[in-house]
């Protein structure tokens, strides 16, 4: 049940095969069992159960609010949630309980979604590994997957060693781990330089960064006002489209949201890609890109070409400067945005009472970690009057050049750009922390942050497993406000590659709250899912007969029957 897509579980709720309370309780117990992943900072158990109860009443009356009614979701801890502690993984906001909901959170709640809790992140969303928050690093569920462990056994490593767990990527690592480990069906992240797409790629999820201006940022504790966007993490493209349909639209409280009508984000099934033009930016082929990633990228481009799409090489000449430009703009905006944390009206406050300035300085010294302080100081440097033109204004000009690069490429007939999302698959935590946060961010954000600078929509679609048994994803970038078209192409690609489901049997086996029958049910559910997916991949002729989309539903219905008979619903 926990591995189904949004539409399927929504149908199950409508038909009464499972109730919102049961679903919520299952998710909450799985969260307890997967606590070692450290994906959640706050689990709002009572509130979630209350929301589930209300949803159940609505289903009983036949008055479900929509597809999301009763569905457990998680939200990154830099979104304000009324009555639930919001910390941004920082000492500065520890104990801070916002009096209001962020617009995106409110929209989810208005649709009846059940908010399970707030997920872990890098402090103030600064980082690319979800390792730098005060609540500790987040572990990638794939470290415990059968696929990864078997590969490690084959290469003569001890498969059960716990110290060599992998990072999730960042900064929305907690959200990614939560969705990947089946504790919720969708999660919100934020994306400033790739913070949603990076963990999505490393955790095998669909990570959508909508166009800047499509989704409201009201209530999202800001990092970089001109680049932040709430991001969506789900297990399939269809789910991402459903959530986007709920979140997108004008918000009077955020004047950077577009007033143009948006949506609906219903994705048509793309059968013919011959009219599609895919661009491959040559500057993205950097030496740091692992050869395995290069091979996957090449394979994906071949796939498009073999199905009739036009695949062309394009040029984004200012790509090599985008990291530097991002570094300057990001630190400058951070310096400004972090100025609001002075301990006076909310958040941590120190005991110094000599003067206002001394109190501010001491509070900020205690509240921020090295990464945040480093960025604030660099940002202040670039904003000094002497340096303003040379650094900040210069970076703004380079930003325009980068944005114009994209515009030129899209005007030349390219519909979608295909690029890698990350340099390689997930790395072990012990290796990741050998370099400092800024270096890592500069390395890992290389494919993702120029999209934020241009404000374009982008989505990570998981493609396949690497030689280590870990997920690898590719990024598709579209024109501004062409989110629906982008997701349509992403859905087609997802259907073609048939990314395997994570096999977390060991997690299930260690789960004492599941009865033996339930364990068998879940295990066979997962086995069936992977089996049927293999069948679909090899059974070319069978697939063509049924059509790609219908195969999915057909096999899922088969599984549901097995499942329901196991559990006696």
């Amino acid at each position: 049940m926990l591995g189904l897509s949004l539409r399927e579980v929504s149908a199950a709720l409508k038909q009464g095969q499972v109730s919102p309370m049961e679903l919520c309780q299952k998710c909450l117990s799985l969260i307890k069992e997967t606590k070692f992943l450290n994906a959640y900072i706050t689990v709002a158990e009572e509130k979630a159960l209350k929301q589930a109860e209300e949803s159940e009443k609505r289903y009983e009356k036949g008055q479900a609010l929509g597809v999301l009614d009763g569905i457990p979701v998680a939200v990154k801890d830099n979104f304000s949630t009324a009555g639930i502690e919001t910390t941004c993984a920082s000492s500065m906001l520890k104990g801070y309980i916002p009096p209001y909901n962020a617009t995106v959170v409110q929209k989810l709640l208005d649709q009846g979604a059940v908010l399970l809790g707030k997920t872990n992140l890098d402090e103030f969303a600064m980082g690319s590994g979800s390792t730098d928050g005060i609540f500790g690093p987040v572990r990638n569920p794939w470290s415990y997957s059968k696929q990864y462990r078997e590969k490690r056994k084959q290469s003569h490593h001890r498969a059960d060693e716990d110290s060599n767990w992998l990072i999730t990527g960042g900064s929305s690592g907690g959200s990614a781990a939560a969705v990947s480990a089946f504790t919720c069906f969708a999660a919100l992240g934020s994306d400033t330089g790739g913070s949603t797409r990076n963990p999505a790629a490393l955790c095998g999820l669909v990570g959508l960064k909508p166009t800047y201006g499509l989704v409201s940022r009201y209530g999202l504790i800001p990092l970089v006002n001109s680049m932040d966007v709430p991001g969506i993490l789900t297990r399939c493209v269809d789910d991402a489209a459903i959530v986007l349909g709920v979140l997108a639209g004008h918000d009077p409280k955020d004047s950077t949201t577009t007033q143009d009508p948006v949506g609906p984000f219903i994705l048509p099934i793309l059968r013919d890609v011959s009219k599609l033009c895919i661009g491959i930016p040559k500057e993205y082929n950097v030496p740091e890109l692992s050869s395995e990633m290069q091979a996957f990228w090449s394979k994906a481009a071949d796939l498009f070409a073999s199905k009739g799409a036009k695949v062309v090489e394009v040029s984004l000449p200012h790509t090599s400067y985008s990291i530097v430009c991002y570094h300057v703009l990001c630190t400058a905006e951070v310096a400004s945005n972090m100025a609001r944390f002075d301990g006076l009206e909310y958040g941590h406050r120190c005991n110094v009472n000599v003067s206002t300035e001394a109190m501010y300085a001491a509070t900020r010294r205690e509240g921020f970690n090295d990464v945040v302080r480093g960025r604030i100081l660099s940002g202040n440097f670039f904003l000094l009057r002497e340096n303003y033109d040379d650094y900040f204004v210069k970076a703004q000009k380079v930003r325009r050049l980068i944005a114009n690069d994209f515009v030129k490429v899209f005007n030349s007939g390219v519909d979608v750009l295909l690029t890698p999302t990350t340099l390689s698959d997930a790395v072990p935590y012990l290796e990741f922390i050998k370099e400092d946060n800024r270096t890592r961010s500069a390395q890992d954000d290389i494919f993702t942050q120029s999209v934020n600078m241009a404000g374009l929509p982008a989505v990570n679609v998981p493609m396949a497993l690497s030689s280590q048994g870990l997920p690898v994803g590719l990024q598709l970038i579209g024109r501004a406000f062409s989110d629906q078209q982008l997701l349509t192409v992403a859905k087609w690609f997802e259907e073609q590659v048939q990314f395997p489901v994570i096999q977390l049997q060991e997690l299930v086996d260690n789960c004492p709250t599941f009865s033996q029958h339930e364990k068998l049910g879940l295990v066979s559910l997962k086995r069936n899912l992977s089996k049927t997916k293999d069948w679909r991949y090899y059974g070319e002729s069978k697939r063509k007969k049924l059509g790609p989309c219908r195969t999915n539903t057909f096999s899922q219905i088969k599984i549901k029957t097995n499942f329901t008979s196991h559990f006696g619903f």
Partner: protein, 156 residues
């Protein structure tokens, strides 16, 4: 057709646009940048010798109200400045700075009507020191100690 050029790029190693400032160890790339104006900007930038001046450190700490804490913090700033210096290599003549990707759209104003508010209690709840409906702060007319005698010129 694209495949041939793609493979050629793979063989060549570096793509043509990827010279210079591609992400990697910052130290490795810095050597290729010129610090054209560094001599004239003594107060602002690091000296050609490569160290951030004590005056600058104090100035930034005062502006940001955040301390460097130790040599590592200063080194971090140093590295950040060097990294950002790579921007000078880009030719931006005649290019307007871009503040927002939505620059072609109008930012609209809401009607000037009070529709929400009266939530003083909610807002005061989060503060640690309040008296009635006031936030309590220490005295504001005392400057931060350990500053140089010369006050930094603040923008009015």
């Amino acid at each position: 057709m694209w495949r041939r050029t793609f493979r050629a790029t793979l063989r060549a190693g570096l793509g043509p646009g990827a010279t210079g400032a591609v992400a990697g160890a910052p130290g490795a790339r810095v050597g290729s940048c010129r610090f054209a104006g560094s001599d004239s900007e003594k107060a602002a930038g690091p000296s050609p010798g490569g160290r951030v001046s004590a005056e600058l450190i104090e100035h930034l700490e005062r502006l940001a109200l955040v301390d460097f804490r130790n040599r590592e913090g200063v080194a971090r700033l140093q590295a950040a400045i060097e990294f950002a210096g790579q921007l000078r290599a880009v030719d931006t003549d005649g290019v307007e700075p871009m503040e927002s990707v939505l620059e072609d759209r109008c930012l609209y104003l809401r009607a000037d009507e009070v529709v929400e508010g009266s939530c003083a209690e909610d807002l005061l709840q989060n503060s640690q020191q309040t008296v009635e409906e006031y936030f309590v702060a220490p005295l504001g007319n005392i400057t931060l100690p350990k500053q140089s005698e010369q006050h930094p010129v603040l923008k009015s």
